[in-house]
């Protein structure tokens, strides 16, 4: 057991998976000698050698595309796309091929690959390093999209993703990479995919979120608690397939829901959750569903970042709005 950060938990899970299964390989830019620009693959080259920890040429289509070829031959590739902004080129391979390979061949070939990439804003980087591609990937048929929010969940969900027989896009919240530590036992135990995690139980309002925003949302739940409002906090974790049942059951109890995402508003996954609540949980709602999102703009450079990202004030205001709705 060790107190480790989220990125260290990713590293731990990768080492574990590679030790257990010789078919697991890691590939990406700077993942070998440099250990990954965020050190997610630190030490793997020394442990497992250059044939399994592959420094690729600078070519994202190649990284995603060759992972598909590897997976068809029975390897379990975990490829890293260095930054979220560069992940968009992989949409071609993920949508046109990875998500389709099993269905296209009616099960003859399959694609057990993982594509990891650090996402989300808040580390004041240059342009293109703060993207939230959640909804774009989640729209792809035939894949899973997983977005952990803590070291424990990063460890357990990454192991689950690597072991899953289908393609998984594993989005990592850059801002949380080193923000806090948690006790993580390196026992090789995977967490459940396709399931929400209820982090706090509550009766008055349901706060639904994922990724880095879980951090602020838990703080908001604390503040509401001090005012006598008991908030339920749900970490969606697997964005596709999404566990709507847990969210619906929670809102059936609380009657109020706030969905928080740092992605832009239009066609966000928050919209999907709100629509499902309207479709299947309308009669349990005491107030309209609130979405707390970033605005529909290009992610601004660092100077405006704090005005762009949703913060605690917005989440609080949204929660209060549902409560004031009589």
């Amino acid at each position: 057991m060790a107190q480790i950060t989220l990125v260290e938990a990713v590293n731990l899970a990768l080492a574990r998976a590679m030790a257990e299964d010789p078919d697991v390989v890691v590939l990406g830019e700077d993942v070998g000698k440099d250990g990954g620009v965020f050190r997610a693959t630190l030490g793997l080259l020394d442990k497992f050698g250059p044939e399994r920890v592959i420094d690729t040429p600078l070519a994202e289509n190649l990284i995603a595309g060759m992972a598909i070829g590897m997976a068809a031959e029975g390897l379990r590739p975990v490829c890293e796309i260095q930054f979220s902004g560069f992940a968009y080129t992989t949409l071609d391979q993920m949508l046109n091929h990875a998500g389709r390979m099993r269905h296209r061949t009616q099960g003859r070939l399959s694609c057990p690959m993982v594509l990891r990439t650090p996402c989300g804003a808040g580390i004041h980087p240059p342009e293109h390093h703060s993207e939230s591609p959640d909804a774009m990937f989640a729209h792809i048929p035939g894949i899973r999209v997983v977005y952990p929010s803590s070291p424990k969940r990063a460890y357990g969900l990454l192991l689950a993703a690597i072991r899953d027989p289908d393609p998984v896009v594993f989005l990592e919240p850059t801002r949380l990479y080193r923000l806090f530590k948690e006790d993580v036992i390196d026992n090789g135990e995977a967490l459940a995919l396709d399931a929400c995690f209820t982090l706090r139980e509550g009766t008055d309002v349901t706060l639904v979120t994922w990724g880095a925003m879980v951090y602020e949302t838990l703080q908001v739940a604390d503040e509401l608690g001090e005012q006598g409002i008991v908030a339920e906090v749900i970490d969606v974790a697997t964005l596709k397939p999404l566990d709507f049942d847990t969210i619906l059951a929670s809102v059936a109890r609380t009657g109020r829901c706030v969905v928080v995402t740092e992605a832009p508003r239009h066609c966000s996954i928050a919209s999907e959750i709100a629509a499902t609540l309207a479709e299947r949980g309308l009669l349990t709602l005491l107030a309209p569903v609130q979405r707390v999102t970033a605005p529909d703009v290009v992610v601004p450079l660092a100077r405006l970042e704090q005005h762009y990202l949703p913060g605690k004030q917005q989440i609080l205001a949204a929660a209060r709005k549902t409560l004031e709705f009589a």
Binding site: N61, I68, G69, M70, G107, R108, G142
Partner: protein, 358 residues
């Protein structure tokens, strides 16, 4: 200034357009009769191709991409591959696929718009037809990497066209294949046309084969209408690849005698004179002439072959026509290893609306 690098691209041809030997034949062709299986394969695939076009014209299959004119490339490649090699090809390599054991019925089921056609009963590791241009090159790199990692005496064969050689995916693939010395042979069928864009507009490079040099490995050109040249180059490249010698690029120069697809009309953009000229270089006729001159082929054998090919193709077509259409629920089959519960609800709605039982 000194010369940092020089290059030359070799071009090989053994049989000219009339079927005359113009260079010392490679060993496998020393016994002329050994070429007969190649000829038979070429005739069969041409017969299949004509049938596929006829089926499209009568509304029995959807859009189809003809292989007319490139039979020598197909047969030369198909005959050189071993069973456990892996083929990653485009939509215009049905001939190679037939030689790999994919049935003509399966191909027609695919062109008829049913995914079951890609669940090949043989050649189980071959990739399905790739519609997007050059993506299969990236997949071939992954396949070759896995082969190399496991130290297997196998190779990946990636087939692509002249248009594909302009794509980023192609450049990324050959670059990776070269840097890692992967067991992959890229067979670039240069049929002079990417839909309506002629070869000279596609690239300023003097040959497409020389692109391999930018990736650090050998590229050769062959007369794609000479099955001996194609087959020879393939055998050499595969031996090298399987023994750790790294990748190769073979540019097979040929001509697309048909339209791009059955929906295209090439007369919109190319002159009939050019097409008529290209017919004079027909790979099937050339080989027949050579075999006949060598005394190992004659009219009786030709008629028998045509009869047999027609029979096989007809049987496959009938088997396709007799294949019942897929149930609506098939769109959910194999979407994931296990269909998640949320999608089971959608599946039930689709099958109910289609009047099927789940």
């Amino acid at each position: 200034m000194t010369v940092a690098a020089r290059f030359e691209i070799l071009y090989s041809q053994f049989l000219d357009a009339h079927g005359k030997v113009v260079a010392p034949l490679p060993a496998f062709a020393a016994d002329t009769a050994a070429l007969i299986p190649l000829y038979q394969a070429m005739v069969l695939m041409r017969t299949y191709d004509a049938k596929a076009i006829a089926l499209q014209r009568t509304g029995q299959i959807g859009t189809y991409a003809s292989i007319l004119g490139k039979e020598a490339v197909e047969a030369g490649v198909g005959a050189a591959m071993q069973k456990d090699d892996v083929l990653l090809c485009t939509y215009r390599e049905n001939g190679v696929q037939i030689m790999r054991g994919v049935t003509m019925r399966e191909l027609l089921v695919y062109w008829g718009g049913d995914e079951r056609g890609s669940n090949y009963s043989a050649a189980r590791r071959d990739f399905p037809v790739c519609i997007t241009i050059a993506s299969q090159c990236l997949h071939a790199v992954g396949v070759a990497y896995a082969i190399k990692l496991r130290r297997q005496p196998r190779a990946a064969v990636c087939m692509l066209g002249d248009g594909a050689s302009s794509k980023g995916d192609f450049y990324e693939s050959i670059n990776a294949a070269g840097t890692w010395r992967l067991p992959v042979v890229f067979v670039l069928t240069n049929n002079q046309w990417a839909i309506s864009v002629p070869r000279k507009t596609q690239s300023a490079a003097q040959t497409l084969a020389q692109k391999a040099l930018a990736a650090g490995f050998e590229g050769v050109q062959v007369d794609g209408n000479d099955v001996v040249a194609v087959h020879h180059a393939m055998r050499e490249a595969l031996v090298k690849a399987r023994s750790g010698g790294g990748p190769a690029l073979i540019e097979a120069v040929t001509y697309r005698l048909a339209d791009h697809t059955t929906a295209d009309d090439a007369s919109r953009y190319r002159a009939p004179e050019e097409l008529a000229e290209a017919w004079k270089r027909d790979p099937v006729l050339r080989l027949r002439n050579y075999l006949s001159e060598a005394g190992v082929w004659n009219r009786a054998l030709e008629e028998e072959l045509l009869r047999q090919s027609a029979e096989q193709v007809q049987a496959a077509a009938q088997a396709y026509l007799d294949t019942p259409p897929p149930p609506a629920g098939q769109m959910f089959d194999h979407l994931y290893a296990t269909l998640p519960a949320a999608f089971a609800v959608q599946r039930a709605a689709v099958t109910a609306a289609a009047g099927e039982s789940t």
